[in-house]
Symmetry: C2
């Protein structure tokens, strides 16, 4: 449902057609959502069908222009409901990476260390990317979201560094 929330939120800010929404997501929310174009179009259609949005064959400048969607009263309600649910929820699903951790004994320590080091550099890169996201300003929501993302990445990184260290020591002990 978070894709629906995202699109409703974008419509709330401004009536738009699918292409613009996709463009915005791709250019500005690339690291927030990986929603695909076809998905956005499908959701817009569904929102219209369920009365959360209205589509009108509108005109935009002198471009061809197709279906411009606007959020409805009912859609605003839906938006707030989804928002409340999202803010209250604490995702309990375990990330895929954790499953592999459970089995790490089945690989030679040397290999494990190589893998985890690769993981570490990916995290550092991601972290850098988040740190370079410019302050958003208009409303603190986006900035808060980014600050959370950074915090989680840091925790991820710190744990990894400690674990790599631990495994290295373990390996040294084993070789004696």
């Amino acid at each position: 449902m978070e894709r629906e929330l995202l699109i409703l939120g974008l419509l709330k800010a401004q009536s738009q057609h699918g292409y613009k929404i996709n463009e915005f997501i791709e250019k500005n929310l690339g690291r927030v959502s990986n929603m695909k174009k076809a998905t956005a179009y499908a959701i817009l259609k569904r929102l219209a069908k369920e009365g959360y949005a209205e589509s009108s064959p509108g005109r935009e400048g002198n471009r061809p222009a197709r279906f411009v969607y606007s959020i409805t009263e009912k859609g605003e309600m839906r938006f707030k409901q989804l928002l409340r649910e999202g803010l209250s929820s604490a995702d309990e699903t375990i990330p895929a990476e954790e499953i592999s951790l459970m089995f790490l004994d089945h690989l030679p320590v040397r290999d494990v260390l190589a893998c985890l080091t690769a993981r570490l550099s990916k995290i550092e890169r991601t972290l850098d990317a988040y740190r370079n996201v410019p302050k958003h300003g208009n409303g603190m929501g986006v900035d808060l979201a980014v600050s959370r993302r950074i915090r989680m990445c840091e925790a991820n990184r710190d744990w990894l560094i400690e674990t790599i260290d631990f495994l290295k020591k373990q390996a040294e002990l084993d070789s004696n």
Copy 2:
């Protein structure tokens, strides 16, 4: 693919039939995987079809007993490959909760605080549950996974506490 890794890992530890695997997941991995029974059966079948496991209509004690699956040579390879991939990967997908954060300006601060407080108590409960997971001992993999889970939960919680605080102060300023 992490469900496949999980099942291969369980088969590697011991040849089993689907029911047992499902039982084990439900009883011991409830907070690690929410894989459903039908899914496990389907994956077992697929593993057999692709040569990663062999099924034999085996007997277990004096129970009816159906298809006992064993991991094959090829399956061991697959397992290690998936494991390496999993250990090297750093999941970049943004959790649903983050999306809602982006739009938090659209709700009265009072409501936001109520929602986030609800979220906080859910996290505290989850954290407690993880802390009460007994040390596993046999191989450090599981323990490491749990320690990571705890660390991530703590980061999540700490950020939330700070943010709730920040929003409260914000609300006070606004009301002056």
